[in-house]
């Protein structure tokens, strides 16, 4: 396929994913609002917010790294998204899926955080490093069960190519990893809670503790980029989970439905619980989900 067309397709895909992510965030705000017994903002509010942040002027400077942070973060989000198929069998939404892209995707999940850490650390505000420390520690801990789950399904499907994994799950609900390897899915879904950073794992932003942590000094377009990335990264994660565990999607509505349902899982838990203390959160991931992850690997590998 022509590389240029591929690029155009990827661009369209990213745009759709970002918009979808933003709307998704908007919808989730709306749902939270209903839990709070209020009406809630319009679903397109995140888009307006991003336009607004881009319209702001940046008059502070904390050095180049500070400004590169959001860029790295965005790169991480895009990287995560770009290397996996969004809609199975679609040309436009196939992205740069290739053999071994699962590893690449997992690397990019990390990459964004690290980049952000470099940038935010330059901000000089003491809450930034605190937030970063929390974020990175928590990420390390939830990555463990997640990686175990990924290893488990890599063993199960004998591949590291997401497209192949999706393909293997086609042909009926019962082919989904959810039913073929439930332990791995449980481990992964619990780590998704941490990944989505909803309560009780919202350590990084934690407004009452370290007011919004790493991006505390971010503003203007840089904040806008971070916001965009949040949307893109959210949809990327959800698509990844959909692909790995819930049989992927063959068209856009299915994709939206499935990702939305996956997201609702974190929302469902998130609305009901307060935030963990950092060490509680770390311990949490290193206990049951990790055990389940190990179990799933053992089950898949030896049974």
């Amino acid at each position: 396929m022509d590389i240029f067309i591929k690029i155009i397709y990827a661009a369209i895909s990213i745009l759709v994913a970002t918009l979808y992510g933003l709307i998704l965030i908007g919808i989730v705000h709306k749902i939270y609002a209903r839990v709070h017994r209020r009406i809630g903002p319009p679903v397109w509010q995140p888009i307006l917010d991003i336009i607004q942040t881009h319209g702001r002027k940046v008059a502070t400077s904390h050095g180049i790294m500070f400004f590169l942070g959001p860029v790295f973060r965005m790169a991480g989000g895009m990287g995560t998204y770009l290397f996996m198929p969004v809609i199975f069998g679609s040309v436009v939404f196939s992205n740069y899926s290739m053999a071994g892209d699962l590893l690449l995707v997992m690397y990019f999940i990390f990459f964004g955080q690290l980049g952000m850490a470099l940038g935010a650390g330059e901000g000089g505000h003491p809450y930034s490093p605190l937030g970063i420390a929390r974020g990175l520690s928590q990420m390390s801990t939830f990555e463990l069960p997640f990686s175990l789950a990924v290893i488990s399904i890599a063993i199960q499907y004998q591949t590291l190519n997401i497209t192949t994994i999706v393909a293997a799950q086609q042909g009926g609900m019962l082919n989904w990893t959810l039913f073929t390897n439930p332990l791995a899915v449980i481990a992964a879904m619990i780590s998704l809670l941490g990944m989505n950073m909803h309560s009780p794992f919202s350590l990084v932003l934690a407004p009452q503790e370290i007011p919004i942590g790493p991006p505390i000094e971010m503003n203007g377009s840089f904040l806008g980029i971070l916001q965009t990335n949040r949307a893109l990264f959210a949809s990327a994660k959800l698509v990844l989970f959909m692909n790995l565990f819930f049989g992927g999607a063959t068209n856009l509505p299915i994709m939206m439905l499935k990702t939305f349902s996956i997201y609702m899982f974190s929302v469902f838990i998130g609305a009901a619980f307060p935030r963990f203390r950092p060490e509680q959160s770390f311990r949490f991931f290193l206990r049951i989900p990790t055990l389940i992850g190990i179990l799933s690997v053992i089950v898949i590998a030896y049974l």
Binding site: H29, A33, H36, R37, R38, I39, G40, P41, P42, Q45, L48, D49, I51, Q52, T53, G55, R56, K57, V58, A59, T60, G123, G124, H125, P126, P207, P211, I212, P215, I216, E217, M218, N219, G220, L223
Partner: protein, 213 residues
């Protein structure tokens, strides 16, 4: 403010950090802000449209006005539906609500927070105390009129102004933003010396507590 006043003050008052070495100048937060000029008429109109619909309040309850911010932001009045949200850091907020009286110690933080906010930024002054001292007009520790220290876009009178008044204030602010008339930030930049002089007149110890940002 009258231009005559500004000229007199410019002549008489010197910025407190004048003549200090470069390193120490920062402590006084005397960096002159710059004006914000619109890039393009139509783009600016579009941005103003978006700005009016996405107002981020600085979560700093400076006075008793903060008490009505909570009902405003919670289920009964739900300001989120108007695109009003709270931000915990001044860097990201664009609306500063002065919740009534500002004590001597607070006005210092108000000025500092206001300066940290990135433009375009707007100020809503709540309650009588911000207009003419309110019931603390004779207090030794509260200022009388906030517009001497930072520019204000909308005044909401009342003590306390109810959440509904506050929503009306936001509506007024939105209209003003959309019409492109909210130039408080430019006013601050243009009359920086006047504002600084006023601030310095009451804040004797300009040096902030050793905050390491």
């Amino acid at each position: 403010m009258k231009e005559k006043d500004i000229k007199i003050i410019e002549k008489e008052m010197k910025l407190a950090n004048e003549g200090l070495p470069e390193m120490e100048r920062d402590l006084f937060a005397d960096d002159r802000p710059s004006r914000i000029e619109p890039l393009n008429k139509y783009l600016e109109q579009f941005l103003n449209w978006a700005r009016a619909r996405s107002l981020w309040i600085l979560a700093y309850g400076t006075g008793c006005g903060a008490i009505e911010l909570r009902p405003l932001m919670t289920a009964r009045f739900d300001a989120f539906r108007y695109g009003i949200a709270g931000r915990p850091t001044p860097r990201q907020a664009n609306v500063f609500i002065i919740g009534g009286y500002a004590s001597l110690k607070t006005i210092k933080r108000i000025v500092r927070s206001y300066e940290q906010m990135q433009g375009p930024k707007y100020v809503i002054a709540l309650g009588s105390c911000t207009i003419n001292g309110g019931m603390y007009y004779d207090s030794y520790n509260t200022i009388n009129r906030i517009d001497y220290y930072i520019p204000v876009d909308i005044y909401v009178t009342g003590c306390m102004p109810r959440p509904e008044s506050l929503i009306a204030g936001f509506n007024g602010l939105k209209k003003k933003i959309q019409a492109g008339q909210c130039d408080g930030m430019n006013k601050y930049a243009d009359n920086f010396d006047w504002y600084k002089a006023n601030q310095k007149q009451i804040i004797k110890d300009w040096n902030m507590p050793d905050y390491n940002w």
